[in-house]
């Protein structure tokens, strides 16, 4: 695992990402590129109509058409052009939505696949990437990449049109044609050089934007602390500084892009100017009609579109390098390009029904064994809480094992390592004597369930937060609620189980959040229950009731096996076995009575509680 995340991955070329996106839904791509190219190329017909009209008017040159035929041709051209445009636009929207959905799906699937406590990528400074920054990649970088595919199609349509235009013009007057194209080629070259600069400014502006998004996320996550400290204005002053930095980066970024645009804009007028300059002699001599001039002038715009779109594409393509790298960072060690690997995105069809694993004999726990387990916190060498080392213990069926120790002794790290939330460095875990190789997929319901120190709820109803997708008719929701001592709270709420908990459960009290999380664990009917300091927001009475109800189920013959982190007496007294952790190592283990006699650390922990009670 550790090797995998550190593995040097060779990134794909940008076009390889784009190619995989195109192949994801090729029919939308074909419906975009085909009709759009023809739509754009009908501009050529307009030039021919102009020429025939002015030739007819002046009676010079050929072909000539009478005015009503001209009108007929013009209307026909419009009908075809519009019809094809509509087809192409609808295909484009589908292509974009499917591509973006695919990339978002792949990144989220990858994040959820990684060990839960290491799911977000670690940045250069060794810290996890802020959620705001991940969101900005999910939102913006996916869009940039998807839109580049469309930018390619724009170039192809313009290219086809330019080639046809060139052939028609060269047949009329090669000299004027070449004279008109040469300044345009020079302009392409300049905009190409400029787009190299664009990449640099793009990176700066993206970084500045992330700073702003990250700061907004922090601000709104810490509203209460800000209010209490009366710090609203001070926070906003800092926010203004960060915003100013982004403005400066943004203006530069946009200016370079606009310079590229301005070059191709001026190309239209300069193109017409050169036709005027070069055709002057030919017209003076009568070799070039007004109709020819009208045709040439009408071809300038589609031709400059080619330059403009190529410039635009080059700029976007370069910026895509940045986007792709940011997405790969989130994919953390997955095979390069996995972010655009093809998977169903279920936009047109329903997603498959949720799998439900019924508990069977094969899930039954007889004995859990941990041998020589080491799990280090990455980039935390200077920390006291550096991890856990060489941990070994056993939990037989039905046992109540408590892990205790001071803050930073590694209690939480130990639980997370066993659950596969953190990658382990050494050691093994055995389930009924069988070594578990893939902890994070194995240590899940119905084998194991877990409640963390600070449980997270999602913006949804209490019912959905408890079930998290379990089919209600196949689980015992009532038992879970009762065991979690949540039934009275629910009865007091107007909407009961249908109560919306608000963002992160903020509408519930701390105790209610914790007991909802406990109910979420109990409803999963797991063989091994892992509690990380469940009682931190519960009063003594409620905690006692919860343990009583949980262990009362012993009479039904399935008393759950429990692994509990706690330093509270109520839990310590219930323990069949206590593991004392000190600086990441088990320094003693036994029953409470034994430990109180022989372990100085246990005595200190126990006395700490006594001391507080006076």
């Amino acid at each position: 695992m550790a090797n995998q995340t550190q593995m040097q991955t060779k990134p794909l070329k940008v076009y390889q990402y784009l190619w995989r996106l195109i192949r994801f839904r090729p029919h939308y791509y074909l419906l975009d590129i085909g009709p759009y190219t023809i739509h754009f190329a009908t501009a050529v017909i307009v030039g021919l109509i102009f020429r025939a009209y002015f030739n007819g008017l002046t009676g010079e040159g050929s072909p000539q058409l009478d005015t009503w035929s001209v009108v007929g041709w013009q209307m026909a051209q419009m009908a075809v052009s519009l019809g094809l445009l509509f087809v192409a636009v609808i295909a484009t929207i589908n292509l974009l939505q499917h591509s973006m959905a695919l990339m978002i799906r792949n990144m989220i699937a990858r994040i959820l696949e990684l060990p839960g406590s290491r799911a977000l990528p670690v940045e250069k400074d060794g810290r996890p990437m802020p959620v705001g920054k991940v969101i900005s990649t999910l939102r913006d970088d996916t869009e940039h990449l998807a839109e580049t595919v469309i930018a390619f199609d724009d170039v192809i349509a313009a290219l086809v049109t330019a080639v046809i235009s060139f052939i028609i013009m060269a047949r009329i007057h090669l000299g004027v044609t070449l004279g008109m194209f040469i300044p345009m080629v020079i302009i392409i070259y300049i905009s190409h050089r400029l787009s190299l600069v664009a990449r640099h400014y793009r990176q700066l502006s993206r970084a500045a934007t992330s700073e702003v998004t990250g700061m907004i996320a922090d601000m709104f996550n810490a509203v209460q602390a800000i209010k209490v400290a009366n710090a609203e204005e001070r926070i906003i002053n800092r926010f203004r500084q960060i915003n100013d930095r982004r403005r400066d980066a943004m203006v530069k970024d946009r200016l370079v892009l606009q310079l590229v645009n301005a070059l191709s804009n001026s190309a239209v007028d300069i193109g017409v100017g050169f036709i005027l300059l070069l055709a002057a002699g030919a017209m003076y001599r009568g070799q070039f009609t007004v109709g020819d001039f009208a045709l040439f002038a009408s071809y300038v715009w589609p031709s400059t579109q080619l330059m403009r779109r190529i410039g635009n594409l080059i700029a976007m393509y370069r910026q895509n390098g940045v986007s792709a790298r940011r997405m790969e960072a989130i994919m953390q060690g997955a095979e390069p390009g996995a972010v655009v690997a093809h998977h169903p995105v279920y936009l047109r069809s329903d997603p498959p029904p949720l799998p439900f694993v019924t508990k069977t004999a094969e899930h039954r726990l007889e004995l859990l064994e941990v041998r020589g387990l080491t799990c280090r916190h990455p980039a935390a060498e200077e920390q006291t809480d550096a991890g856990v080392f060489d941990i070994s213990f056993q939990i037989p069926r039905g046992a109540f094992v408590v892990v205790t120790g001071r803050i930073g002794s590694g209690k939480t790290t130990l639980l997370k390592a066993i659950l596969g939330l953190l990658p382990i460095e050494a050691g093994e875990v055995y389930w009924n004597g069988q070594q578990v190789t893939d902890l994070r997929h194995f240590m899940v319901p119905p084998r194991v369930a877990y409640t963390g120190q600070v449980p997270r709820l999602f913006s949804d109803t209490i019912r959905n937060n408890i079930l998290l997708g379990l089919p209600e008719e196949q689980v015992d929701l009532g038992y879970a609620i009762k065991t979690a001592v949540l039934e009275k709270d629910l009865a007091d709420m107007d909407y009961g189980l249908e109560t919306m908990v608000g963002p992160r459960g903020i509408r519930l009290s701390g105790g209610q959040i914790q007991r909802t999380a406990a109910a979420r664990m109990f409803v999963r009917n797991a063989e091994l229950l892992v509690f990380d300091d469940l009682s931190s927001a519960l009063d003594v009475e409620t905690e006692r009731l919860l343990w009583q109800r949980l262990l009362a189920t012993a009479e039904n013959g399935h008393r759950p096996t429990c692994l509990v982190v706690s330093h509270r007496r109520i839990a310590l007294q219930m323990a069949d076995r206590i593991l004392v952790l000190q600086n990441g190592r088990i320094t003693d283990a036994g029953t409470l009575d034994e430990l109180l006699v022989r372990s100085v650390e246990m005595q200190a922990l126990w006395q700490g509680e006594v001391g507080n009670n006076g």
Partner: protein, 590 residues
């Protein structure tokens, strides 16, 4: 959040408010853009002269001179436009940055009840996503839409000069186009609004999920979350598609209208040429001018689309700005210095949206300066709400809360300014909220007036000097909860924050739970120091934490069940407190 209809007046007001400080630049921008338009209008006249000269076979030199003049003017026009872009972007970002900061400040000042119903991810989308659309509104829309409209008007005027019949027909066609665009867009706005809404929902949920990866894994809920994601993505696709179907009409018009204009030019051109009213150059000029406004019409079309998105964004921003805190700013008195007295005078409280359940019922007590009140009660008994009322996160439904000075003078809480109130009351909660910022900024909450010596003294007081010494950049080290900071250290930092703020009343909300006894002892010592010369209200579930209290209050279902001197209650065997002490001791001693 109500979504009331926002009219053009609101756009205008917002525009004026944020552009006024930059009036000089705006003026310069207008000059640049008008100059550019003028040059663009002049150039086609040169083409007309060229064609007529060529047709009459007069002077080759004159033809060449005209061509060169044409090219020079074209380049000059582009330079003006580039300068305009730079200035425009700068003005737009300055304006929207100010709006962004104002909106963020407004949101921060809204009540906690607002923040309980709005996800941080949703507010990110408002304060960033929506305002980015507005930045488009300022730079692209106002400038480009304005210049393009002026260009179109200029061209129409010149077409009337060429021939009034041609001018009339083509003006009418373009007016019809703009009218239709406007009509269609009225139906399009709500659809784009729906797209933005699902967008903000999608990223709101993603934010929650990304913060809850541990829960998702250990509850085996990955498939469930993926299913939720698919549903959101599908809705986004459907709503985008629905908006796009209508949008096709908006895209078709800029092709349809110029084509009709061409047809008019063909027919009038034939008539006017045959009757010798116009030369070939004059007729070509008509086509040139139609082409000149064809592209602006494209731009106008695109900008109007953006305007719809900006309108949708602006709707939400104006609605958000219209949200008023249900607690007023206070009446301007300053909270006295020194330890504060607290008086609850028959205070009751229930939430405005739930009048059935009384959260607090007839709370009545007085806490003298320097005294420590221990607050006990089960979860949901109203302990937390009682303390939040002191910060005026909410106002009591009935009854009055007062703060008093050392001389027994009491003043209604609502008479104090909010800021002086929050300066004089400090709070430590179990959930410590940290910023991705330096240790210094996290301690002072970005207050540059607090010097390092004070900070170091506070850290020293709390026994955190060693911790600080181990940080790579000292006070400048960036903090990361759970990464270079344990829960206990975060608690100590929160205490240091309060130390630095030097309040007269301290509220400790479950401050010492979830810590191991050794760390807790460290924090207990810190609290002892903090409480010297301060009034305090301590909430705890555990009796141990309450031992330092002078007075005890037990709450149940929002009422005071028991209130009195701690020692008296402890020695009275019939008191609930004594009973609790016994069960508590039973718990610990078995």
């Amino acid at each position: 959040m109500n979504t009331k209809k926002v009219g053009y007046r609101d756009y205008l007001n917002l525009l004026i408010t944020y552009l006024r400080p930059q009036a000089g630049r705006v003026f310069l921008l207008a000059v640049l853009l008008l100059g550019g338009i003028g040059l663009q209008l002049v150039n086609p006249q040169l083409v007309r002269r060229f064609l007529d000269t060529a047709e009459n076979g007069r002077s080759l030199t004159q033809l060449t001179q005209t061509a060169i003049l044409f090219i020079s003017i074209a380049i000059l026009a582009q330079i003006l436009q580039l300068l305009g872009t730079y200035l425009g972007e700068h003005i737009a970002w300055t304006a929207t940055n100010n709006l962004r900061a104002d909106l963020a400040l407004h949101c921060l000042r809204l009540n906690m009840s607002f923040h309980k119903t709005h996800k941080p991810g949703e507010l990110i989308e408002r304060v960033d996503g929506d305002i980015n659309s507005l930045s488009n509104f300022f730079s692209q829309l106002v400038i480009q839409l304005g210049t393009n409209l002026l260009l179109v008007i200029g061209v129409m005027g010149l077409l009337w000069l060429v021939d009034w019949r041609v001018g009339a027909t083509i003006s009418l066609l373009f007016l019809m186009g703009l009218f239709l665009l406007n009509r269609i867009n009225r139906h399009l706005v709500p659809r784009w609004q729906a797209v933005r809404q699902i967008q903000s929902d999608l990223f709101g949920y993603l934010e929650e999920w990304l913060s809850g990866t541990e829960e998702i894994q250990t509850n085996g809920a990955k498939a469930f979350i993926m299913r939720q994601l698919y549903n959101l993505l599908r809705q986004r696709w459907r709503r985008t598609q629905s908006a796009m179907y209508l949008n096709l009409l908006v895209m078709g018009l800029p092709i349809f209208i110029p084509t009709l204009a061409y047809v008019a030019a063909y027919l009038w051109g034939e008539v006017l040429f045959r009757s010798s009213v116009l030369t070939v150059g004059g007729i070509y000029l008509i086509f040139y001018y139609v082409d000149l406004v064809k592209s602006p019409l494209w731009v106008i079309q695109r900008q109007v689309q953006d305007l719809q998105q900006a309108a949708a964004s602006m709707n939400r921003i104006v609605a958000l700005l219209a949200e008023q805190p249900d607690v007023d700013e206070g009446q301007g008195e300053m909270v006295p210095s020194g330890p504060l007295a607290v008086q609850f005078d028959h205070v009751s409280f229930y939430y405005a949206d739930d009048k059935e359940t009384r959260v607090l019922e007839d709370i009545h007590f007085t806490l003298l300066p320097g005294r420590v009140l221990g607050l006990l009660g089960r979860t949901g008994s109203g302990k937390t709400t009682l303390t939040r009322l002191l910060f005026r996160f909410y106002d009591p439904t009935s009854g009055v809360i007062r703060l008093g000075d050392g001389n027994g003078r009491f003043t209604n809480l609502r008479h104090f300014t909010q800021s002086s109130l929050r300066q004089r009351i400090g709070m430590v909660t179990q959930e410590v909220e940290l910023f991705h910022a330096s240790v210094r900024d996290n301690l002072t909450l970005f207050d540059p007036t607090i010097d390092d010596q004070h900070i170091l003294a506070a850290l020293n007081e709390l026994g955190m000097t060693t911790w600080l010494a181990n940080l790579p950049d000292g006070l400048d080290t960036r903090l990361e909860a759970g990464h270079n900071l344990s829960a206990g250290e975060a608690q100590l930092l929160a205490l240091a924050r309060v130390f630095l703020a030097d309040p007269g009343l301290v509220i400790l909300d479950e401050a010492s739970s979830r810590l191991d006894p050794a760390t807790e002892a460290l924090i207990e010592r810190a609290i002892d120091r903090l409480l010297v010369g301060r009034t305090a209200i301590i909430i705890a579930h555990r009796l141990g934490t309450v031992q330092r209290a002078d007075e005890i209050m037990i709450l149940g279902d929002g009422r005071i069940l028991e209130y009195g001197d701690r020692l008296q209650l402890a020695t009275n065997p019939n008191s609930r407190f004594a009973q609790l002490l016994r069960t508590g001791l039973e718990t610990t001693y078995g």
